[in-house]
């Protein structure tokens, strides 16, 4: 037996009132692995990240499934036990660094919370540690940054602060929810570089939620694709870009806009992503699929392995 995965999701089903945000999502991250979770808005990718830290916005409920962190069942934990994990073993890098920081407090006050609570450092020791961390992240005059309020910092600097906070207590799993989406391209490049370096140095398992296939191509070891709340394909990054098997993934890759190519007018993926209300009884992508068969209207395809580490939920790949 090998060691337990850093994160394991088993048939995770999340419901928001009448709507199913995810349906029976199975995922596993090895220690030190970066998994890119991609999909359109509403596909359920952020919901997966939020469910793992158990911070689903109302009325979100985990309806079924299991979430295990190094083999430990998270759904059975009390809120107090969960709090002990968040910010320590389990860290979140949110999308919008401005709303993730409290505007009324100086950076130094809020950024050192995790260090004081989880590592029991005194205020002075926590501040010194945070200055060191920010320095490592290439923030000059980190002591000065800690004296400021969130609105006084640039978007890139706020995101660096949140990354330092996330890594401050040596997490074993980081959930990064579109951490560079709100940033300008040059700042995004700096932050991605930073995350790459941190990853090379610390080898923390990371669930990287994003809609940007360019980011995934360079940061993720493996990619999982979601559509309408369902996991439709997952594969090692190189394999996914080279040999995507699901028609939806193929469509996603074909319609990526690139600045270095003026593409022929691409029609893009057809159809509108459906919203699930109950367990799917047919393939959710059948409306946009050019290779739709009779069986696609009749049953939901199961996730099947088509190559080592490459799984697809599509009737074209159900084998014999």
């Amino acid at each position: 037996m090998t060691t337990a995965p850093a994160l394991e999701l088993r048939t995770l089903t999340v419901r928001y009132g009448a709507r199913l945000a995810t349906w029976e999502v199975d995922l596993a991250l090895d220690p030190g692995e970066v998994l890119g979770l991609v999909g359109e808005s509403g596909a359920g990718k952020s919901t997966v990240g939020r469910a793992v830290v158990r911070l689903l916005p109302e009325p979100g409920r985990i309806e079924a499934g299991a979430i295990r962190l190094h083999g430990r069942d998270l759904l059975g934990l009390s809120e107090t036990e969960m709090r002990r994990l968040r910010g320590a073993d389990l860290a979140l890098i949110p999308q919008d660094p401005l709303s993730a920081l409290n505007p009324a407090f100086r950076i130094g006050f809020q950024a050192t919370d995790a260090l004081r609570i989880h590592r029991g450092l005194t205020r002075d020791a926590a501040v010194a540690e945070m200055v060191r961390l920010l320095g490592d992240l290439g923030v000059p005059e980190a002591a000065d940054v800690l004296q400021r309020y969130p609105h006084e910092l640039s978007g890139g600097m706020r995101q660096r602060v949140l990354i330092a906070m996330a890594f401050s207590c040596d997490p074993t799993l980081v959930i990064a929810d579109e951490p560079t989406t709100a940033l300008d391209v040059t700042t995004q490049a700096q932050i991605l570089r930073l995350l790459e370096e941190l990853q090379a140095e610390r080898r923390v398992a990371t669930l990287f939620v994003t809609h940007d296939l360019g980011v995934v191509a360079h940061l993720a070891h493996r990619v999982a694709v979601m559509y309408a709340g369902c996991l439709v394909e997952s594969a090692p990054t190189g394999e996914l870009f080279r040999a995507a098997a699901h028609p939806y993934t193929q469509g996603l890759l074909a319609q990526v806009l690139r600045a270095d190519v003026r593409a022929a007018a691409s029609a893009g993926i057809e159809g509108v992503m459906p919203q699930l209300a109950a367990a799917p009884t047919a393939c959710p992508f059948r409306g946009g699929c050019s290779r739709r068969m009779a069986i696609c209207d009749e049953t939901m395809p199961a996730l099947r392995e088509v190559a080592p580490g490459h799984a697809v939920a599509c009737h074209l790949h159900q084998g014999t």
Binding site: G156, T186, A189, A217, G238, Q255, R258, A259, R262, S266
Partner: protein, 322 residues
């Protein structure tokens, strides 16, 4: 897709827009959002305007439409100077220039039906004819269902709302539409459909677009020419393919190299830019880009580079470009 006849539809000369900051108990400072922009746009042409937040691209678009008052310089629309026209004198000209905003959630009145929103410009400008039919035709043309006119904005998705805003902007058959980040926040599939629609409408309505965006990949697909803004000025301008294939300004190169290519086999080494973009409240002397420029020399710190022609339609503001 466009062409550039002799007399440009739109021309700005040394256009400047400053905002006053501070005052009362604090020293007055000037935020130079747009600081000497000269550009032109032909009929039925698309000019892509790219830059990062704070580069002044949105303010430039709004100044051109006279939604913000310019501090100096000139704006000409169809050969007529409109820089100092009063709002009353501008009114008839507003038919010729329209805007589509970035956020389709805040730019459409949630309490009015879509038909009334799209028909509003026809009412304001007292356009004769059957408005209901005109609105119906417009909605159909932008690809919305026939019953859209009777519904409210909240019943539509982000992409559909942007179609509503496009229909409203085209209702008066303008010559110029300023499209300000209209595809940001939309999923790629939806983005592609909106871009395809803009392209079709351009030929049909003979409209020119000033297409403002931070997304280089999107601009590559729609623009005939591209202007790159940095701290209130245009640093490079060229036909689209030239700009992307032979960028001459170091900032343009940095912008392009910053986008990770969607290909795991391609090597990607993002350029190292020192620091954050400087504030338009404290603009560096000499070349504005010199504090972050990877190739800056002594001269760049002292002398302001002029926008020089370095090829057909290719202008660059860099001492070191050749």
């Amino acid at each position: 897709m466009g062409r550039t006849p002799a007399a440009p539809l739109l021309e700005t000369r040394d256009l400047r827009t400053y905002f006053r900051r501070g005052g009362w108990l604090r020293p007055t400072r000037w935020l130079r959002a747009v600081d000497g922009v000269s550009l032109s746009l032909g009929r039925q042409e698309t000019l892509g305007l790219v830059g990062e937040s704070g580069s002044g691209k949105t303010t430039l678009g709004r100044t051109i439409l006279r939604l913000v008052d310019p501090t100096g310089g000139q704006i000409h629309l169809g050969g007529q100077e409109i820089t100092d026209l009063s709002q009353a004198a501008l009114r008839p000209l507003r038919r010729r220039m329209q805007i589509v905003f970035q956020n389709p959630y805040s730019s459409l009145n949630p309490r009015r039906r879509v038909g009334a929103i799209v028909g509003q410009p026809l009412v304001v400008h007292r356009v004769p004819g059957d408005h209901a039919r005109m609105v119906g035709d417009l909605l159909e043309r932008v690809g919305l269902p026939p019953d859209a006119a009777r519904r409210y904005p909240h019943e539509f998705s982000g992409g559909q709302r942007q179609r509503i805003a496009i229909a409203r902007a085209l209702a008066l058959r303008p010559d110029l539409v300023v499209a300000d980040e209209i595809t940001s926040g939309l999923d790629v599939t939806v983005k592609l459909r909106v871009l395809a629609l803009l392209r079709e409408l351009q030929a049909e309505f003979r409209v020119a677009y000033l297409f403002i965006s931070h997304d280089l990949a999107v601009v590559r697909q729609v623009a005939d020419r591209v202007a790159v803004m940095y701290l209130g000025q245009i640093v490079e301008e060229a036909p689209t393919d030239t700009l992307f294939e032979r960028p001459l300004h170091p900032y343009t190169r940095v912008l392009q190299a910053s986008v990770p290519p969607p290909d795991p086999t391609a090597s990607w080494r993002p350029p190292v830019l020192s620091g954050d973009p400087p504030s338009p409240l404290s603009i560096p002397p000499g070349c504005r880009f010199h504090p972050r420029c990877p190739i800056a020399e002594a001269r760049c710190r002292a002398e302001v580079p002029a926008l020089r022609a370095l090829g057909p339609g290719h202008r660059v503001a860099c001492h070191l470009a050749s």
